[in-house]
Symmetry: C2
Subunit: 209 residues, 2 copies
């Protein structure tokens, strides 16, 4: 990996680069200057040059960046040129929305199973996936490689389910439960605390009054 020296701030901007370069590619733009890319991303040209130098120094003075190669390079750093097998635990509103979303599939995130413990939900078809009984999770993990588990269960059961998944070697957690998961150092979590975003928005609106 050529990314050992990339700072946390740059890492957090990588998906935004990847997204903007994707839009440019779809618009048919082949080359872009740091100035133009900066305008689109609300960053300065010098920030763009610094960031891109960080992960390998594409582009030539006066020519700008080649949109498609830079996008592929960033996609490779992010690992979205690989397949990630994903399961969803919890087939409530969020679990179903993730299962039905097709925006992740193009980036190699494949949902291979959906679990719930509610008898009314087990057996239902959600966009081609049959909701499986949570009781069968362990058996499933024994015979399938799971890279990422989407945690879309209530607060109270999240950590127990995560512990179970950890014991079967799952290392990646996309957590929608309103709880800070306890994880070992070799596992990773990205939290989507929807309520918290809305609370921050409420705070900002108050400040503007």
């Amino acid at each position: 990996m050529p990314t050992g020296y990339v700072s946390e701030a740059v890492i957090r901007r990588l998906p935004s680069y990847y997204r903007h370069l994707g839009v440019l590619a779809r618009e048919g733009v082949a080359q872009i200057s740091s100035q133009e890319l900066g305008n689109r991303m609300q960053l300065t040209a010098s920030q763009i040059r610094q960031d891109i130098n960080c992960f390998g120094g594409f582009g030539r003075q006066g020519y700008g960046y080649h949109v498609q190669s830079l996008r592929e390079h960033i996609g490779h750093i992010l690992g979205v040129d690989q397949v990630h097998q994903m399961i969803i635990v919890g087939s409530g509103n969020i679990g179903r929305a993730v299962a039905r979303s097709d925006s992740f599939r193009s980036d190699g995130f494949q949902t291979i199973a959906l679990f719930d413990c509610d008898p009314e939900k087990i057996g239902k078809n959600v966009d081609g996936l049959i909701v499986q009984d949570l009781e069968s999770l362990q058996g499933f993990l024994k015979t399938n490689k799971v890279d990422i588990a989407v945690i879309a269960v209530p607060l109270v059961s999240a950590q127990t389910i995560v512990n179970n998944l950890l014991s079967y070697g799952v290392k990646g957690f996309w957590n929608f439960a309103p709880v800070d998961l306890q994880l070992p150092d070799d596992a990773s979590v990205v939290n989507v605390h929807l309520d918290e975003g809305l609370e921050i928005l409420s705070f900002r609106l108050l400040q503007q009054q």
Copy 2:
């Protein structure tokens, strides 16, 4: 507002304080020390004391914090003790998941309408809300106060819809579209770029291999 001097980092932690204090209150805990609260929040006791001093200095040496009052105080700073009228634009997977979620309601976020431009979706009932034709949005905004618009539409239409909402005085945007919205200084946005979170998770998993 007593919060003019609260730093951005503290602001971003406020929802987490609010959430943890809510859990403590439900567990029946009346008082908590900075040490214990720190353990739960994975912060140091001194960080907790510093943060809480920032927004008004609750608690007494040796007694700890009164859970319920501190939670109410933080809720007041966040503005979640007020009612926020919310509309959802886009009744796809995300729009419907937000409409069906009941976790925001208790914090004063009330979804009062849901719009879409797809004739197959217009008229459908989503958890008690009838999906309205996007064409009727302007008329709705003339007669209803809307604090927050949830943007759950495809990338290409997001900015146009936001411009329309801005012209009718909507100032708060909870944006799920994969685009950086252009907003005037007196409007606020909180982005939920789901794809980007998943890409960061993929990156972290690669780093751990």
